[in-house]
């Protein structure tokens, strides 16, 4: 039960500005994921929330109380580390009990709390073992167990799944989502993996170069990326960006000419656009269909079963990726015509800002 507010958090190491003015309001019981490329400042931001790192300026409020100067334990947070950070010389029981031992709780209470945590995480059988005898997924659960015994207000996760193999990662994603619901807790989760972000988050914070690019629900980011960066970061495979020139504006939207001469009128807000502007038209691979529009030479076709991912090159060398039907009959090496519905297009100006789409799917509240 806690809200978490960040107010103009800045952080610099020497002359390097790592975070420049982060403002964020996280609601009670919300699962928020910080996502971004390595070096974007997401881990530093998490460590600042945890109290492991001091911000250069700004305030952190948990449940409305300023905790900027408080020690981690007094902030009411618990953190799960990427490396799990289990104590190899202590048993699973003592690892989970560690925060309770620090707080010198009576033995009976420790037993009861550790027992409950172990039950939730299905570790009851393993309490006597040392971390070295556990599998990766079990170690991860011990690390989570250590974080839940203290009933923290806010859980912080620092890339907790990046050391697991792909199958286990998928499993743990589901477990973590379920755990978040069961514990009714506020969680902040850092990852560089946009799939983890999309699947688990209530809302996603996309960070780039120490700034928040966008803060919104997964589908909001998918349908309405605010910037070119968010558009290419969210969605798998990545969005195609086709260079285009603005021909004019009309009540229905923006008329552009793509390389190769194709003209289209795209239903986006046009206030900022002027004739002759260079823009980029963003089209998701899954929005492309076979048809006449742009042409690409198909280089590689990956058949995944339900879909087939086609990688090709346009005559001017631009790489394009399209998600076609799994039964598509196109062949590698041939020229393929592709088309897309104007309503599916995103348009980015020269600064990478999006022109708002008018016909996008309604947003989830």
């Amino acid at each position: 039960m806690a809200t978490l507010d960040l107010q103009s958090i800045m952080k610099s190491f020497g002359t390097a500005q790592v975070l420049s003015g982060i403002d964020l309001a996280i609601r009670d019981r919300e699962f928020v994921v910080f996502v971004g490329p390595s070096g974007c400042g997401k881990s530093t931001l998490l460590r600042i929330i945890a109290g492991l790192e001091a911000s250069s300026s700004g305030r952190i409020l948990i449940d409305g109380v300023d905790v900027s100067a408080a020690a981690p334990v007094d902030r009411g947070i618990a953190m799960v580390f990427q490396s799990y950070a289990l104590y190899p010389h202590l048993s699973v029981f003592e690892n989970i009990a560690f925060p309770l031992r620090v707080a010198s709780l009576p033995e009976a209470e420790v037993k009861q709390k550790v027992g409950r945590a172990a039950e939730i995480l299905q570790l009851t059988e393993k309490l006597g073992l040392k971390p070295g005898q556990l599998s990766g997924g079990q170690r991860q659960r011990v690390a989570i167990g250590r974080s839940i015994v203290r009933n923290p207000k806010v859980f912080l996760f620092d890339e907790p799944l990046s050391n697991l193999d792909a199958a286990l990662r998928g499993e743990m994603r589901v477990e973590l989502s379920a755990l978040q619901r069961d514990l009714d807790a506020t969680m902040v989760y850092v990852t560089h993996d946009q799939i983890e972000a999309m699947t688990m988050a209530h809302r996603i914070v996309v960070l780039n170069k120490g700034r928040i690019e966008q803060f919104g629900t997964p589908m909001e980011l998918y349908h309405h990326p605010a910037t070119r960066f968010v558009a290419t970061f969210i969605g798998q495979p990545n969005m195609n960006l086709l260079p285009a020139t603005v021909i004019g504006t009309a009540p229905e939207g923006l008329t552009v000419e793509l390389h190769g001469g194709t003209r289209m009128t795209l239903p986006v807000d046009t206030e900022t656009a002027r004739s002759g502007d260079k823009v980029e038209v963003g089209v998701r691979p899954e929005s492309l269909q076979l048809g006449s529009g742009v042409t690409m030479r198909l280089r590689v076709l990956e058949r995944l079963g339900g879909t087939a991912i086609a990688y090709g090159q346009m005559p001017d060398g631009l790489k394009v990726c399209a998600a076609l039907s799994g039964d598509t009959t196109v062949h590698e090496g041939e020229d393929v015509g592709l088309t897309f519905a104007p309503a599916d297009a995103h348009v980015f100006d020269a600064n990478g800002r999006v022109m708002r789409r008018r016909q996008a799917p309604a947003l989830a509240a």
């Binding site: 945890a50 109290g51 492991l52 020690a71 981690p72 334990v73 947070i77 618990a78 953190m79 580390f81 990427q82 490396s83 950070a85 104590y87 190899p88 010389h89 560690f98 925060p99 031992r101 620090v102 707080a103 250590r146 203290r150």
Partner: protein
């Protein structure tokens, strides 16, 4: 590990090892040989690996020739152990601070420790003598313990610091997030994980203390009862002759208890010296 050596290479390795060990162990072999032979035969006979006159007589006689021998052996171990204990009490927090905390003159002071190490005790004997006299510590155990501790602290800090640096920072941060203080973390997390390193450093300090006590003993102490073994061995040098066989027997007897302890610590020593070499 896969054994990739050919037979010829193996033979080469064993021959090289043999000569290396011979070189290192020859003095010990000679000590044992001398200790087993009667005095009268020592100067006359040619070198032989084994001779008919070997006996343990010197090991019995030495207690008579030097009645305080047992006391000397005890003193040696007592002084070296005290030095090790006090050194470790000082070195552990210092090494942890150097491994984890940021403070002014950190690298400068570390370099200073290394520089201090370059002076041997011998260079500083006279100033040390004056200090100990001022503190009225001459002719006490302290006269041998305190200089020993002082000279071994820098080595200890250097050795233990590099070991502590290898303990993942995440573990300490996790403890910190859970509310543990620095000292609690040191006690519950860092030191148990550093145990092999502590044994390595403890052993190195003990050996250092054992080796250097001779110098401090003959300079700062002339009380027979608290003399350590290396100084006590002088009593085998008589006015007329030196009872070499008994002296060697006493020296060997003196190091036996220490050797036995090290034999048990061996597996920790190896583990400590190679820790961090392999990613776990």
């Amino acid at each position: 590990m896969i054994d990739r050596l050919t037979l010829l290479q193996k033979i080469g390795v064993y021959i090289a090892t043999f000569f290396f060990l011979l070189f290192i162990l020859m003095p010990f072999i000679e000590m044992i040989r001398v200790s087993l032979r009667p005095m009268s035969h020592l100067m006359t006979a040619d070198f032989t690996w084994w001779s008919e006159d070997f006996s343990l007589q010197a090991y019995r006689d030495m207690w008579v020739t030097v009645p305080l021998l047992g006391r000397y052996i005890f003193n040696s171990i007592f002084v070296a152990s005290s030095v090790t204990l006090i050194t470790m009490i000082v070195v552990i927090p210092a090494a942890y601070a150097y491994a984890r905390l940021e403070f002014p003159f950190k690298s400068l002071s570390l370099g200073g420790f290394l520089a201090v190490n370059m002076f041997t005790g011998a260079v500083l004997l006279i100033p040390l003598y004056r200090v100990l006299r001022t503190l009225s510590m001459l002719n006490t155990y302290w006269a041998m313990i305190i200089p020993g501790v002082a000279f071994l602290i820098p080595t200890g800090i250097w050795l233990l610091r590099s070991y502590l640096e290898k303990i993942p920072r995440d573990l300490e941060e996790a403890a910190y997030v859970d509310g543990a203080s620095r000292l609690y973390t040191l006690r519950r997390v860092v030191l148990p994980l550093a145990a092999p390193g502590l044994i390595v450093v403890g052993t190195a300090v003990f050996i250092g203390a054992y080796a250097q006590q001779f110098l401090f003993a003959i300079t700062f102490n002339n009380v027979r009862e608290i003399q350590p073994l290396p100084a006590g061995l002088y009593e085998f040098i008589g006015y007329q002759d030196v009872t070499w066989n008994e002296m060697m027997a006493a020296a060997l007897t003196g190091i036996t208890p220490v050797m036995i302890v090290f034999l048990f610590l061996q597996k920790y020593l190896v583990a400590g010296l190679t820790a961090g070499a392999v990613k776990e």
